[in-house]
């Protein structure tokens, strides 16, 4: 009976052409959104696709499947996934300690989280290289144990982790803040241990936010350029990331090849982001609607 009525209600009000909306300016804002999106995002991307598709089919594939290019995809997406995963884990812990505990210097740390947002990425790259190179503080110490960070794929992961951290922390922080303490108290009186509370109550509640943070950190890492070129050493086949390869192509005036590589990145990124969004949407549906 109740769902029936709910379905009927919008139908009766539908014929009224201009229903006064609670928020005025719907047409204006949507028009602006469409224009803005087109001018800033879709047009340049369209130009990129056109440029890439202007190439001959064989030449296009040759550029895309060039071993050096494939190696760069692997490094870019592999390192980005690694960095986003590391961020998902440690970013959660950082957000947790910032939300849950009151300690001296908490506000300072909270402010420091945003630093990678503001710092020119090249600066963080130089800083990381200085510290992690074999003559740097940490790099020298790690070299004792035979671990090389700078100029290896590991260095790339480190740089991308640094860049993605604030995205993770800033998305998880508010979600964690919203987990009601009463839920944890309830679980505790029902006999759950701290770990069970974390696994069964807190994590399911903040999972959508963690996924969003993961997506953001991942997307940011794929596009990252400035911080990586210093620490990676840019060895072709080994520590060269795709954005750098594109710059190399541009410097050699191979605009079409650069566009083709850009197109490839676009497609892969889109597919991956779409997949993550699908997971997220599934999680949300499960959260809101009835199961089974």
């Amino acid at each position: 009976m109740a769902p029936d009525r709910a379905r009927r209600e919008p139908r009766t009000s539908a014929p009224r052409a201009r229903q006064p909306s609670l928020l005025p300016g719907f047409g204006l804002t949507v028009g602006f959104t469409a224009f803005f999106l087109s001018a800033v995002v879709l047009l340049p991307l369209g130009a990129l696709v056109l440029k890439a598709l202007g190439m001959h089919w064989h030449a296009f594939w040759a550029v895309l499947l060039d071993p050096r290019a494939v190696a760069s995809y692997r490094l870019t997406f592999g390192a980005s996934l690694c960095a986003a995963t590391i961020n998902a884990f440690f970013g959660f812990i950082v957000a947790w300690s910032l939300v849950r505990y009151e300690f001296p210097g908490r506000r300072l740390i909270d402010a420091l989280i945003d630093l990678p947002f503001a710092l020119p990425t090249a600066v963080s790259g130089i800083a990381l290289t200085a510290v992690l190179a074999e003559n740097g503080w940490i790099g020298g110490w790690l070299a004792h144990y035979g671990i090389k960070v700078a100029y290896t794929p590991l260095g790339v992961v480190v740089a991308l982790t640094l860049i993605g951290m604030p995205f993770m922390v800033r998305t998880v922080q508010p979600a964690l803040g919203e987990v009601e303490r009463d839920l944890e108290d309830a679980a505790e009186t029902l006999g759950a241990s701290r770990f069970q509370i974390l696994r069964r109550i807190i994590l399911p509640s903040v999972l959508p936010a963690v996924l969003t943070g993961f997506t953001l950190a991942f997307a940011r890492a794929i596009g990252e350029y400035g911080s990586v070129i210093f620490i990676s050493g840019n060895l072709p086949m080994h520590t060269e990331i795709t954005p750098l390869l594109i710059v190399v192509k541009l410097e050699q005036f191979e605009y079409a090849s650069a566009a083709a590589l850009g197109f490839a990145m676009l497609v892969i990124s889109f597919v991956m982001l779409f997949a993550i969004n699908a997971v997220q949407a599934w999680g949300r549906r499960r959260f809101v609607a009835a199961r089974r």
Partner: protein, 590 residues
């Protein structure tokens, strides 16, 4: 005993939110903790569940000391005001949660779930998510979830707070039914006295962190022990009167008889339905108390609620002031249909007022009278935060008398001391205290210029004759001031062992007396040295304090405590002196 709390204290930023609460709840009993918001009742409940740590005291559940046991191993069921259901789980998963974390097998879980859903009348709702249920249904799920692991104690924190009146009543019935069916010991926290009456086997009334009183609902209603309980449990008029040899004197009844200053002032509780209104004194069937005019009439079907303003000059002006937005000086009256038809009333109509039944409160602090040099000094004293708090919270009267007036009254043999005498601290304070005690005051409050509400109350009496009176005063103060209490007994240095034991016993006696008579929990300590010196040392401790000093001879005040209570007094002090020991010197006594 199923739940035993022993001297539970929980401080928040140095202030006690739960203050020395001791309580025992019997097996299968439904106990309701009733109090206004901020009274510490929820904190107390959370402490029992182990969700809040405590600073002092012990908690035992079914003979097992759980003071240091974490919440998850206390085997209690807890129901929250906002349901606290797990939003990402179905009703079934919510209810089975406690069993799942205990690794109970699937079939057994399902069986228990069905049983619980039947109990709270939610069969077939297994697969819903909490967001698809109404508030009342959600709270039923929360109750079922809290009972899943067969806890021995059920704790409910304002479970009906977020529900509308009809659902509230329905759920109330369900919870009472479930509780009786399972025979589970239950504590429910609420601020709604109607709810408390409807559910409770026993009610405990909390205010400012203290458990003021507990007992069967009808007992608490008929014979409240304090002003707060009287006014919080149902409507009540607090009237000041005098206790005479012939009974309670509201001022007019025994007007021909010469009253003496020794007739102590008392606070009486008169329920609105115990007040009779009549057109003239002759038509009154109960005791005549005074005259007034009808200020407002509200007809509520079976009853009629009236407010009557006492006539100026009538003894009814002695109704306690303060309280509900100035309405406190109006008499609340409830009349039945019979009374309405036999004497219809309109606004502004003059009536005579009679009292059918009055309950006398045992509190010694009835009203306050300032004794000052002039009116300016009275205003300064009136604004002292401690006095303001006491007067407002006691909903009582505060009057002033200049020294000249007091002297004239004393010379004429009239009433000098009414209620608590209040004076300003200073070098002449000890002498003034002694004079006031001589003139019939039983308590003198000395207020220093230092304006702070005390966090700790020191209690000391010089000899056993003053103990009862001192404890009564302390209990009355502590019901209205959120402070911690410490009883100290001071022996001369080098007291022989045997006498020390005796002193310790007397302190323990005092503790039991405080608990039994006043429901007041105090901590006790034994000190050695010179009494006034030791008291001064205690008062010098950091934090704001207050001294309650019991003496049995007014002469002692100047002789022994002249230094302590003189110009150097930095904290408020009450000197209490039981009336029986006063030897009238002015010659106009009883």
């Amino acid at each position: 005993m199923s739940i035993i709390l022993d001297q539970l204290t929980k401080r928040y930023q140095g202030l006690p939110v739960v203050n020395d609460v001791s309580l025992s709840v019997a097996e299968g009993e439904f106990f309701v903790l009733l109090g206004p918001s901020g009274s510490g009742k929820s904190t107390l409940l959370r402490a029992i569940a182990g969700l809040t740590g405590i600073d002092h005291g012990r908690i035992s559940l079914h003979g097992r000391d759980v003071t240091h046991v974490p919440a998850r191993r206390r085997e209690v069921g807890f129901v929250f005001q906002n349901y606290a259901l797990f939003g990402h789980m179905t009703v079934a998963d919510n209810i089975e949660f406690a069993l799942r974390v205990r690794r109970v097998r699937g079939a057994a879980r399902r069986e228990r779930r069905q049983e619980l859903l039947r109990m709270v009348a939610l069969e077939g709702m297994d697969d819903r998510l909490p967001s698809q249920l109404s508030g009342g249904q959600q709270q039923r799920v929360a109750v079922a979830r809290a009972l899943a692991h067969r806890p021995k104690v059920l704790l409910l924190d304002e479970p009906f707070g977020a529900l509308d009146a009809r659902i509230r009543e329905e759920l109330r019935t369900t919870i009472r039914k479930v509780q009786q069916e399972l025979g589970i010991t239950t504590i429910l926290v609420t601020h709604d006295q109607e709810e408390a009456f409807a559910l409770a086997d026993r009610i405990g009334v909390m205010n400012q962190g203290r458990l003021l009183d507990s007992g069967r609902p009808d007992e608490l209603y008929a014979r409240p022990a304090s002003r707060f309980v009287a006014t919080f449990l149902g409507a009540a008029n607090l009237l000041l009167a005098r206790r005479t040899a012939d009974g309670i004197d509201f001022g007019h009844v025994l007007v021909e008889r010469r009253r003496t200053p020794r007739d102590p002032e008392v606070v009486t509780v008169v329920r609105p339905q115990d007040i009779e209104l009549a057109p003239s004194r002759e038509r009154l069937t109960s005791r005549f108390v005074g005259q007034g005019t009808v200020e407002s009439v509200v007809y509520t079907g079976a009853f009629e609620r009236l407010r009557v303003r006492p006539l100026e000059g009538s003894s009814l002006a002695r109704i306690s002031t303060g309280g509900n937005g100035g309405a406190g000086s109006l008499l609340e009256v409830v009349r039945t249909e019979n009374e309405q038809s036999s004497f219809p009333l309109a606004l502004d109509q003059a009536v005579v007022v009679g009292v059918r039944r009055a309950h006398v409160l045992p509190t010694p602090l009835t009203s306050f009278t300032l004794y000052v040099a002039d009116a300016g000094a009275a205003d300064a004293l009136r604004a002292h935060p401690l006095l303001e708090d006491l007067v407002n919270r006691m909903k009582t009267r505060l009057t002033a008398m200049t020294d000249a007036e007091a002297d004239a009254a004393a010379a004429a043999g009239g009433v000098v001391a009414r209620g608590v005498a209040v004076i300003a601290a200073g070098a002449d304070a000890p002498a003034r205290i002694a004079r006031l005690l001589d003139r019939g005051a039983t308590e003198v409050l000395v207020l220093p210029a230092f304006r702070q509400v005390p966090q700790r109350v020191l209690i000391h009496w010089t000899d056993e004759a003053a103990r009862r009176a001192t404890l009564a005063v302390a209990a009355s103060v502590l019901r209205h001031v959120p402070a911690e209490a410490l009883c100290i007994n001071i022996l001369p240095a080098g007291t022989p062992e045997k006498q020390r034991d005796q002193s310790m016993f007397s302190l323990l006696d005092a503790r039991s007396e405080g608990q039994a008579v006043h429901r007041l929990d105090v901590r006790t300590e034994l000190r050695f040295g010179e009494t006034a010196t030791e008291l001064a040392r205690e008062l010098a401790a950091p934090g704001s304090q207050m001294l309650i000093l019991g003496v049995s001879d007014p002469g002692e005040v100047e002789r022994r405590f002249g230094g302590l209570l003189g110009a150097a007094l930095a904290h408020p002090a009450i000197v209490a002196c039981p009336p029986s020991k006063i030897v009238p010197r002015t010659g106009h006594g009883a």
